[in-house]
Symmetry: D2
Subunit: 304 residues, 4 copies
């Protein structure tokens, strides 16, 4: 029997002593002001037991982690039609610098590069009457927590400065791979990225991916094949230009965000979320990566 | 208890009826003459029990599968120094068409694109007195089978026509990331790709990757971390431009070759090799992919 | 003494018999409705004598030809500061398909690819109080013709569908190479491209480039070095992906537009404009190119 | 009447005082040892009068200037068939760093990037019995000087280190755009680049391009259209990544080499060669560019 609590207590203790903590994302003022010393970790296992340590209940900007939730929602709405508009292969490019290059034929490489996430947002805008409200409700339902909110300040900040996303959306539009107008799609996208959640809420929301498509509230959104597809995408494309390194160190499907959050999961076994706002040069949480590496090594749960 | 034999017998039965079998690689005359109806599968489990069906004992050209064996050998010789000269991330590019583009700074994206495999071959040429002989002996020892041979005709055929590999090697050389002369490196590379092995020999040779770095003959070449690195590389980069698709369908570390072979493994559990020479448009064995998908679904051994 | 009138009468006669007339640009409805049989040519020489044939007085959408006029205006306002924000070298890329790629460091290759023209428009927006009005007045003054107008329908049509230009502008903005907001810059850009002028008005406006920087009204906007710079840019970058071909066939500085216009000039000697709306596959007027080739051959005025 | 001698005497006087002289190409030891203080200039006019100043009679490695001579020879042998295998447009890329990228479809952008020059060399190898001997004789005949020689040491030096050229040749071969074996083509190419000529010999050899295709010995190799094509190529593609700058500063067709030579010409008027081994960051002779700019300004012979 794995003693999760002891392991994560040790991880938190180690994290307190870490001197190299990475660099906080500064392109949005709202992210730049977080303390570099925050660290939280939370585990939810298949029996719904939870283990918590550090600032696991403090909310942060989930940013790109939201791409998995938006993918799940749109996948549940349109099924495999989705893959006509976005591919499922790793990109080999940093997360946004060159992602535009991959659009030559208008089909983004995968749903987790920004261009791909914009196509996903476009699908939601097409199928939902009030995209922002309904997406928020979807996340609240997955996490069984109606207190989850967008951070309007963060959303508006990105709206003012997210020129590369505007560029990507317009390029997609020029290829006919954006059905709605650019502003509606970006509006949903910037709000979706601004979601504030804590480590506990993240594991609750991602429970669906370790539980065959059925969420905490026992509602089934995805079938097994669909969950497998999303998990495979997380494993191969979930960490920007560091997917190979994460697969090696952690060996679990997961997704990171520039807010410093990471969520990862072992199907049928557990889901874990970490938060430490300092990023490594590739844009992933430095201490979060280390924590997950330690966790999977100690639990023996890596797939390799 | 999983009944491997029943599963693979069914797979072979299915394969006989398959009408869409893919297309045989035709760029080397020696590969072009194989019958499209060949199909073999072999399993070696952690208890060293074996399960066989179809043409599991008929040899074929392992081609790119050899890149894993060469990587293992060079990794055992120089350790993590290797990663200064080749990266560990998926490339997002087809297997050789654009691989040159990734050399701008002279560091190939991973050891399984051709440019990366040439760097690995260069390491072997630097550290071995008789590279071809010693590499062959290494593979024979891993597989515990001294009958394994290079196919000289295949090697010479590639030497005559492999202009893209010559281009890649010269480009690496221009960046100073090839220490030996181009011809020596390519000589080893073309021979290594020409190795003839059957499905049984492949599972025997790859046993080391499911067995923590210790081969069938109980000799330990790699430590656990090194094996984990190689397995992670297979999972994220082992299938050309179809790594994401393979991760989804099969969910195991593995490697394919244009000769129609695929080998895959679940650490501590089993290693499986398939052979069906017809390739899908991305260069992976069409029926082999399907067989592995069926196997992991029926055994429940996929990681997702 | 060259007999321009005889030459251009012959050119017009030939053009009437041409069966292969190219294809009309169809991406804007307003351009698509022009008759493929229109053909006009007009010459203005250094003594201000004029020679006219065909529909030389019928207005058309000058489109990219406006980039030279905008460049002249911004160059007169900021001088060589301009070259910190846009380069002066040919791009080797089609006119808009890949122009984004050239922005990696945010500096467009030259002022005539779309990204470069957007930087020029940005300069005008920064320095003018009413950019659209003042640019129009500048063109009217150059051409000594206050009847020149924007075509609002064309401008609004491009505003609705010019997603690649929005993408380029946002990408420039993300690199800090657009000082004003994207919409203001694109507003000027789309209006500038929508200018309606006829062949006579074009030669009048471009007289400044054959006359050392002094326009028809004797007002001096540019010095000799500046004119030389603009003429060199026209020669090396004025014809999308066909600059080399135009240099060979015509051997004069010039600029084309997808409305079917071309203007070219020999310093101190003459300026010529042609209009034929059918384009060749590279986006340049098919009969216009042929006409200029015939003209320079017959006058012996090519530089080669 | 232009007084060439006075102008070039002044140019040489200025050059002696220049403190910023650029950097000598160091990738070949034989080039690296030249004194940075060498400077020569030579003019041959349409009446075959000559004007000389500085070290105009000292030989140097003409390097890429040879590409024009090889183009002329192959063009005279196969005519417009040539353009099926190499394009005529500027490349927008530095002279060899990224030239490989332009080969995606196997057709180099123009005959003056290295890949294009290799296709030209391939044509010569196909059509000549003793390519090196016959090409040397062709150059000797153009220049009416049988003392012109290859520099074997330079040729062998490049053969040992020219890995990017080997890469380019192999890539061309993989696309089927090299008919002969890679080594034969590169052998001619390296020898051709190693030609030693002085400024006088260069103007004599390039006399054919200002004289409608008829060389000094009155032998006609090219027709007028062919000469025009080559001159247009020099103007738009003759200066690596600085074609636009050269067109602006000098305004004449010309070609530079990393040995520090530049040759330029005004059809029917004169041909000029300069030599100063220090290069600017784009690989063109720094003082040579300045000298030609001064010459064309003072003679008023620029085309703009």
């Amino acid at each position: 029997m794995v003693d999760y609590q002891t392991i994560i207590d040790k991880i938190v203790a180690n994290s307190k002593e870490a001197t190299e903590r990475g660099v906080i994302a500064s392109y949005i003022p709202e992210l730049a002001n977080i303390s570099l010393h925050k660290f939280g970790i939370h585990i939810l296992d298949a029996d719904r037991k939870t283990y918590s340590a550090g600032e696991a209940l403090e909310g942060f900007s989930i940013q790109s982690i939201s791409k998995v939730l938006a993918l799940a929602f749109s996948f549940s709405l349109v099924g495999d039609e989705l893959w006509k508009r976005v591919d499922v292969e790793p990109s080999g490019d940093p997360f946004n610098h060159l992602s535009l290059l991959e659009l030559e034929n208008g089909i983004p490489r995968n749903p987790f590069i920004n261009a791909g996430a914009l196509v996903i947002a476009d699908v939601l805008v097409s199928h939902l009457e009030n995209p922002k409200e309904e997406f928020l409700r979807f996340v609240q339902e997955l996490a069984n927590d109606s207190s989850i909110r967008y951070n309007e300040k963060v959303a508006l900040s990105e709206k003012r400065t997210g020129f590369k996303n505007y560029a990507a959306a317009n390029l997609l539009k020029s290829y006919g791979n954006l059905r709605n107008d650019v502003d509606s799609v970006l509006d949903l996208y910037f709000y979706q990225c601004s979601l504030e959640m804590n480590c506990k809420q993240l594991t609750d929301a991602f429970y669906i991916f370790m539980n065959h498509g059925t969420c905490l509230r026992e509602k089934s959104y995805l079938n097994l094949t669909q969950v497998k597809r999303i998990n495979a995408l997380m494993l191969t494309c979930g960490f920007y230009d560091e997917a190979g390194e994460f697969a090696f160190e952690v060996g679990l499907p997961g997704k990171s965000g520039v807010g410093g959050g990471i969520v990862a999961l072992l199907p049928n076994t557990y889901c874990v979320a970490t938060w430490s706002p300092g990023l490594n040069p590739k844009g992933n949480s430095k201490l979060g990566m280390a924590a997950l590496e330690e966790l999977t090594t100690k639990t023996g749960h890596s797939i390799f």
